[in-house]
């Protein structure tokens, strides 16, 4: 197992190189000239040229890439071409709020989603099932920006209990994590339900019941663990997405996360920031995938990695 993990981690190195190359080329090839955007609408051609030169954008693309790679390998992510702030600092400031929001959202979504799924599966086609699935369908179908605005209207404007946005104190995490987690909770509930319903039809469950095992022992001792594989897959995927920050929810709650930083940076073609952020997202996704694979093998010892 350890060998497998080490192998996977080492395999990241060529992957990161490929990803860095692809990101670099993509961001430089999309239309939009950062020098023009920095110089502004009143700028003359000479002024734009001068800025382009000072940013090193006049050099051939491959030379620029190798410069970038060199500093990347020495751990230097560069400086924002707009504000002049170090990219590592910009991302550092945003990563903690995003991590906090991600864990909170995925945390409650997992607990509530799995619970709802179990209740729905156990009481299949009875009212708790309908209620659970109604909640799930609502969670999936309500757009999160709308949920966000309704929450602000209710809890901030009407009741005056929570701040409308920002990331100051735990209170400001509640509404965004609810808005973000609602959809994921719903998905987890549905996956848990259908997977558990399938498992409960298996022969070994019937055998368990025949042996006289109680309901709880069957569900929590045998069926649930075996039903969690699809749930782990979906939760892992969502976790990866959340780590990249959610532009919509971050915008509604003026939350200083990675999603908004990315969008703001793309709009002004702040190449170093965009490159660093996308690289970070790719790494996060690769690591989350690895983590999911490891959890698989715990849930189902039949899954082995060589």
């Amino acid at each position: 197992m350890w060998q497998y993990i080490i192998k996977r981690v080492l395999g990241l190195i060529p992957l990161v190189l490929v990803v860095s190359f692809v990101i670099f080329m993509f961001i430089h090839l999309i239309p939009g000239d950062p020098a023009r955007l920095i110089a502004g609408k009143e700028a003359t051609y000479e002024e734009v040229q001068q800025i382009r030169e000072s940013l090193g954008l006049e050099k051939p693309l491959f030379v620029q890439y190798f410069d970038y790679l060199k500093s990347l390998l020495s751990g230097d992510l560069g400086y924002s071409i707009q504000s002049g702030a170090p990219v590592s600092e910009l991302i550092g400031e945003r990563i903690m709020p995003t991590l906090g929001l991600t864990f909170l959202s995925i945390g409650w979504a997992l607990v509530v989603g799995i619970l709802l799924g179990i209740i729905s599966a156990v009481f299949r086609n009875k009212w708790p099932d309908y209620l659970g699935m109604l909640t799930a369908v609502s969670g999936i179908s309500l757009p999160n920006f709308w949920v966000g605005l309704v929450l602000i209207q209710l809890f901030s404007v009407q009741l005056g209990l929570l701040p409308t946005g920002g990331a100051d104190g735990w209170q400001s995490y509640l509404m965004p994590s609810f808005a973000l987690g609602a959809g994921i909770m719903a998905m987890i509930a549905r996956f848990t339900r259908s997977s558990l319903v399938n498992t409960l039809k298996q022969d070994y469950i019937r055998t368990g019941r025949a042996k006289g095992l109680g309901g709880n022992a069957i569900i929590f001792g045998h069926a649930l663990k075996n039903s969690l594989i699809p749930v782990v897959t979906i939760a892992g995927l969502q976790f990866g997405f959340l780590l990249g920050g959610s532009v919509v929810v971050e915008t509604v709650f003026s939350f200083p996360g990675l999603g908004r930083l990315l969008i703001d940076s793309i709009q002004i073609r702040d190449y170093p920031v965009v490159q660093a952020e996308i690289l970070l997202f790719s790494l996060q996704f690769i690591l989350v995938n690895l983590l999911v694979d490891i959890i698989y093998s715990f849930l189902n010892p039949k899954i082995r990695y060589e």
Partner: protein, 521 residues
């Protein structure tokens, strides 16, 4: 049983949603983290600050953010008229080539350094240094040298007269020379100026926090102890912050929230005319737009009142010149009244009685899309079949500004707005209508070329006589308006809102927020 439960749940759901959406405008629940009587000012705006280097700020938000901490020799008052700030007084020589400033003697920077001629010199040298690539350099492009007369008097010598020079001086704020010496790169992140508020912290994308500078030379004007700027891009959230009292001032106020906010007794909505002109630039280099009759027909075909009502929700005024009423030397022109018959006749005279196909470009904002839709519908009435091409801002800027010659330009019509950065007539004219400023060299995207106008633009800059300048700009406006290189649409109305207990915070016509006179009642 089952059906009953479902019905109950639906009912509960409806109650929650309805209670959430019902607006109790007069409910007084200032749960914002502060009570009455504190002097903390929170301002919610719609964009992030890009930089805090006052000599390199180009976007409006960064400019007004830095203005809270920095000042220039002169500045703008509420109506964008020039007033002395760090200079007690100033004189302009008869040949308009020498600007002499007497500096205030009671000014210190936030780090305790005195403001004097040496400070002016250190800043001047930083700005004109080619290697620094600062935006402020453009404001001093006609300055040949700086003369230090004594500790509190300096003179800027120009190499040619420039009518908007004072406005440009207002765009040159001064940084502590000691801070420049210590770590120039750090200026963008740790500002040190002479302004009423000094820097505490900047969490990019989240907040900019300032506190009162106790040794400020004009301290009596404001009683705010602490100021927090918060970028809140979502309209609904910004409006909610004003309602709850989390923000004392918001700008812009979303048009759709105006009515509700106006009915809230804790909130005051301000409507200010702006320097922002909205128009469609028409590529006069291309057929059929090179025909003046076609361009005039397009102007007659658009109902500007309806445009303001539909696209601007009623908040705006007809653009009845090449610049807004708030811009220096504005002269009113007779607007192109909405007249479809006249428009059709003009098209027929121009040989396009069956109309033609055309393309309009714009960015992806919903207001731009709505505006382009409106133009499309209006021009369809006279047989012009318009295709809308909406592009992301960076891509659009590339398409517009990269063509090397007018021939290469693919743009036909561009739905856009313009606001001169320092409210001056030159800024609203030269780069838009001089043939020296065709892209990629400037923003004359109509490729408008009139030799009289080209000459007048030069002459206006070279004279120091204000009456003469006014007359020349009046000529330019009437000529350009008559030749219609744009579809002239509207000027924006600036909508801002503040809590009732706040006074003295306002938005200037160029869209910058001034907090220097902030007072709590």
């Amino acid at each position: 049983m089952t059906n009953k439960w479902i019905r109950l749940m639906i009912l509960l759901g409806i109650i929650v949603v309805v209670s959430a959406c019902s607006s109790d405008a007069n409910s007084d629940n200032d749960q914002g983290n502060k009570g009455e009587g504190d002097k903390e000012l929170t301002i919610a705006i719609d964009q992030n600050f890009v930089t805090l280097d006052p000599q390199n700020a180009g976007d409006t938000v960064s400019i007004f953010g830095t203005r809270a901490m920095y000042e220039g020799l002169v500045g703008f008052n509420e109506h964008m008229e020039i007033e002395p700030v760090l200079a007690e007084d100033y004189q302009v020589s008869d040949d308009a080539l020498t600007y002499t400033f007497q500096l205030r003697k009671d000014v210190t920077f936030h780090d305790g350094e005195p403001f004097n001629a040496d400070a002016v010199k250190a800043n001047y040298e930083r700005i004109i240094d080619e290697d620094n690539d600062l935006r402020a350099k453009r404001n001093l492009q006609y300055v040949e040298k700086l003369e230090v007369i004594n500790e509190y008097e300096v003179a800027f010598i120009l190499n040619q007269p420039f009518s908007a020079m004072l406005n440009k001086f207002a765009m040159v704020p001064f940084i502590s020379p000691k801070a420049l010496e210590d770590d120039e790169k750090d200026i963008a992140l740790h500002p040190v100026g002479t302004g009423p508020f000094k820097f505490i912290e900047w969490n990019q994308g989240d907040s900019l926090v300032l506190e009162k500078y106790n040794d400020y030379w004009n301290a009596a004007n404001s009683d705010a102890e602490k100021v927090t700027f918060k970028p809140v891009p979502e309209n609904g959230s910004r409006a909610a912050m004003l309602k709850t009292g989390e923000a004392d001032f918001i700008y812009p106020v979303p048009q759709q929230d105006i009515k509700e906010l106006e009915s809230n007794s804790d909130v005051v909505i301000e409507k200010t005319p702006s320097t922002i002109a909205r128009y469609v630039s028409i590529n006069t280099f291309k057929e059929p737009f090179n025909n003046e009759k076609v361009r005039k027909a397009m102007n007659y075909a658009v109902n500007k009142d309806a445009y303001i009502k539909v696209v601007k929700n009623g908040y705006g005024n007809i653009l009845d010149s090449t610049m807004s009423t708030e811009t220096q030397y504005y002269t009113k022109q007779e607007p192109y009244e909405f007249n479809l018959e006249k428009a059709k006749d003009l098209l027929t005279e121009a040989g396009y009685e069956n109309g033609f196909e055309a393309e309009i470009w714009g960015n992806t904002s919903s207001e731009t899309l709505q505006g382009m839709e409106f133009i499309k519908q209006q021009l369809a009435e006279i047989g012009i079949d318009v295709t809308i091409k909406s592009m992301e801002e960076g891509t659009l800027s590339d398409e517009i500004y990269t063509p090397e010659t007018p021939k290469d330009a693919k743009v036909q019509m561009w739905y856009v707005s313009w606001s001169p950065s320092s409210g001056d007539a030159d800024g609203a004219t030269r780069s838009l209508f001089s043939s020296e400023y065709f892209p990629p060299n400037g923003a004359n995207t109509a490729y408008y070329n009139n030799s009289d106008v080209n000459t007048w633009i030069h002459v206006a800059n070279e004279t120091s006589n204000i009456d003469e300048q006014e007359e020349i700009y009046a000529n330019i406006q009437s000529t350009v308006y008559r030749e219609a290189p744009w579809i002239f649409l509207a000027t924006d109305t600036i909508l801002s809102g503040h809590r009732k207990n706040l006074e003295g915070v306002y938005v200037l016509p160029d869209g910058s927020v001034s907090i220097k006179n902030a007072q709590f009642k």
